[in-house]
């Protein structure tokens, strides 16, 4: 079976006047199958958003990507010149309050998206949009269609954003911290909505989050990122129950109560290395309670620790 999305050894470096300044993504390999929800977790700055943007071909100026991104087995241009964006793949951002243009109605903004990707008359496009407002559980779709963003609450806007992301029946939905800006009960509803839509439409989901509670609730598989690399990946249950990498263990152990959502992942002592250019050895060495001399010499790659469960640590599973 070919994966829906396959990210193969993705690197993202930054260049200024021909000089490499940083390399925040250092070889990420990751895949998402149709209907699967894959979580990407990790501290701030570990490269989560850059990975998502690379998939969309939306990297900021100065970014130099390498590696391969395949959709249904087809290699995508890394500069975003393909037309998958907004069509086969769509994205929902963190802050629904600023993600919509304040001077256009939601209906107008969504019509632009439909017009870009589908041949559809005005009336058909409107009906199409209203249909998706209903799908995401927005009451009074006609009113929402005519509303400006400031007239709706954050939760409603995020539902509308999800509706917009569904307009072109995407095969892959990327969610970059979709609930971080919302309060807890609304966040829970949005996550439930995403799962039920996934069941209905069968798209794959790449869910980026800080929040292990969110991962526990919705993800089938997770990839734990540290300093621009996947340091542990596997079925969500397995990784959460038996974390193998000291970083993942730290994240989980640092959670005050295992089921409290909304906790940031910043409770591990120390900080992420600022610049990843000249790094040798294991990138987690400085903060690792299990570090030994050899950790400074070799850069561990992902290795199986259990079926489907991999970790990048020479002492994976050690006490």
């Amino acid at each position: 079976m070919t994966d829906l999305l396959h990210i193969d050894d993705l690197e993202v470096a930054f260049q200024e006047r021909g000089m490499l300044t940083n390399r925040p993504v250092r070889g990420i390999t990751l895949s998402v199958a149709p209907g699967e929800v894959v979580g990407i977790v990790g501290e701030t700055g570990c490269g989560k958003s850059l990975t998502a943007l690379a998939v969309l071909g939306l990297l900021p100026k100065g970014a130099v990507p390498s590696g391969r991104i395949l959709l249904d087995g087809v290699v995508q241009p890394l500069d975003g010149s393909g037309s998958a964006r907004g069509d086969v793949i769509s994205i929902v951002f963190q802050n629904p309050g600023t993600a919509f243009n304040p001077v256009f109605t939601l209906g107008r903004q969504m019509r632009d998206v439909v017009a870009r990707h589908r041949r559809m008359g005005r009336a058909a496009a409107t009906a199409h949009i209203l249909h998706y407002f209903e799908q995401v559980g927005l009451p009074e779709p006609e009113r929402i269609f005519r509303s400006y963003p400031h007239e709706l609450s954050g939760g409603m806007l995020q539902r509308a954003m999800i509706a917009m992301a569904l307009l072109c029946e995407p095969r892959l939905l990327i969610l970059d911290e979709p609930t971080t800006a919302l309060d807890v009960t609304i966040a829970k509803q949005i996550l439930e909505l995403i799962l039920s839509l996934r069941d209905r439409f069968g798209f794959g989901v790449l869910l980026i989050t800080h929040n292990l509670g969110v991962v526990r609730e919705v993800c089938d598989r997770i990839a734990v990122l540290y300093a621009g690399r996947v340091v542990e990946t596997g079925p969500a249950d397995a990784v959460l129950k038996a974390p193998a990498h000291p970083y993942t263990r730290g994240l989980l152990g640092a959670l005050p109560a295992r089921h409290v959502p909304g906790q940031p992942l910043d409770a591990i002592r120390g900080a992420v290395p600022g610049n990843l250019l000249g790094l040798t050895g294991c990138s987690f060495r400085e903060r690792c309670p299990l570090a030994i001399d050899r950790c400074g010499e070799i850069d561990p790659g992902l290795a199986p620790v259990a079926p489907l469960h991999e970790a990048a640590c020479i002492r994976a599973g050690a006490r």
């Binding site: 969309l56 600023t98 919509f100 243009n101």
Partner: protein, 338 residues
């Protein structure tokens, strides 16, 4: 929207009222004796006293002010001391020419200013941005009469492409006179299909309109660039490109609508400045408008004319800002709420 309009109108009327008072007080402290202006410097004292009485200068100030206000409402704005004809008539015959010039200049300024601003914001710091910056700063800092003379030297003197002065060539009056429809000469020539007069009028309009447009155009271009750059950094623009919308649509249709309200504020201010700019430009191009008349009135201490022109200018300024407010409210739903 109606309430919004009503509140803005109310403010405008109040400002105008206060202005009548200011204008009135100022007219009484202008140096120079209006009676002398009226009767000529060699008039005997009894003649001057008679004229003062006729003009109402012998009455208490408050009575004079009330009379003045009453006159404003009944259409009696006083007689020009210089021409002895009603000021309102003098203005009425000149206003259309000035408004046509002003409109043409603002149209040029807004269209080209906005376009240049958007283009400059496309590649900030690159060559095209630099060229536009140079043009904009040039337009803002070049005095209007100087630019007008330069353009005349180049396009009239050297190249001979365009007429130097006036609103129409004198022959037009004989060959194909403009019929009166709205009173706006160029517009009337268009409405009556008088192509000879229309093309002649357009050719006459180009240089003064460009001269007058330079300043507001520069301001508008700079402001559009700045607000476009700000808007292009916003999340919703990123959303639009994440959904695959084309760059041209994002810039020219979406982001521009966000960038226009702040630009419109500048347009209002620039329009006011341009209003005073017409004074110089009309003199340089011998344009038969209010500006020329105003300069004459100031030199002659023709105070009823000066008062009327001041009020008219203020009204023009208030109207321009009202229009700006309305456009802003139309563009941005959040303005309508405040």
């Amino acid at each position: 929207m109606l309430r919004f309009l009503a509140s803005r109108l109310g403010t405008a009327v109040l400002v105008l009222f206060v202005l009548t008072l200011v204008v009135f007080v100022m007219s009484r402290v202008i140096p120079g004796d209006p009676a002398v202006v009226y009767a000529g410097p060699k008039a005997p004292p009894e003649e001057l006293a008679r004229i003062r009485e006729k003009l109402g200068f012998d009455q208490p100030l408050i009575v004079q002010y009330v009379n003045y206000l009453g006159g404003l409402f009944t259409g009696d704005w006083g007689n020009s001391l210089a021409t002895k004809r009603p000021v309102l008539d003098e203005l009425a015959i000149r206003l259309p020419a000035t408004l046509e010039l002003l409109f043409a200049a603002m149209l040029l300024a807004v269209v080209f200013g906005v376009v240049l601003g958007v283009v400059a914001a496309k590649r900030p710091g690159r060559a095209i941005d630099g060229v536009i910056r140079f043009l904009a700063i040039g337009g803002v800092s070049m005095p209007a009469f100087w630019l007008g003379l330069l353009l005349q030297v180049l396009f009239v003197g050297r190249l001979g492409w365009l007429p130097a002065t006036g609103q129409f060539s004198t022959e037009v009056e004989y060959v194909s006179p403009v019929a009166h429809v709205t009173g706006f000469p160029l517009l009337d020539s268009l409405l009556t299909g008088n192509w000879i007069a229309y093309s002649d009028g357009l050719a006459h309009l180009v240089l003064p309109a460009v001269t007058l447009a330079a300043y507001p155009l520069g301001l508008i271009a700079r402001m559009t660039r700045a607000s476009m750059l700000e808007v292009l950094g916003q999340d919703y623009v990123f959303t639009a490109s994440a959904f695959g919308l084309r760059d041209g649509l994002i810039r020219w249709k979406l982001a521009l609508k966000n960038a226009l309200p702040p630009t419109m504020t500048i347009v209002g201010l620039a329009a006011a400045y341009t209003l005073t700019g017409t004074f110089f430009v009309e003199v340089v191009f011998n344009w038969p408008g209010i500006g020329q008349f105003a300069v004459g009135a100031m030199l002659a201490v023709d105070y009823p004319a000066i008062m009327a022109i001041t009020l008219l200018g203020a009204a023009g300024y208030l109207i321009a800002n009202l229009v700006v407010d309305l456009i802003q409210a139309r563009l941005d739903p959040r303005v309508r709420l405040s």
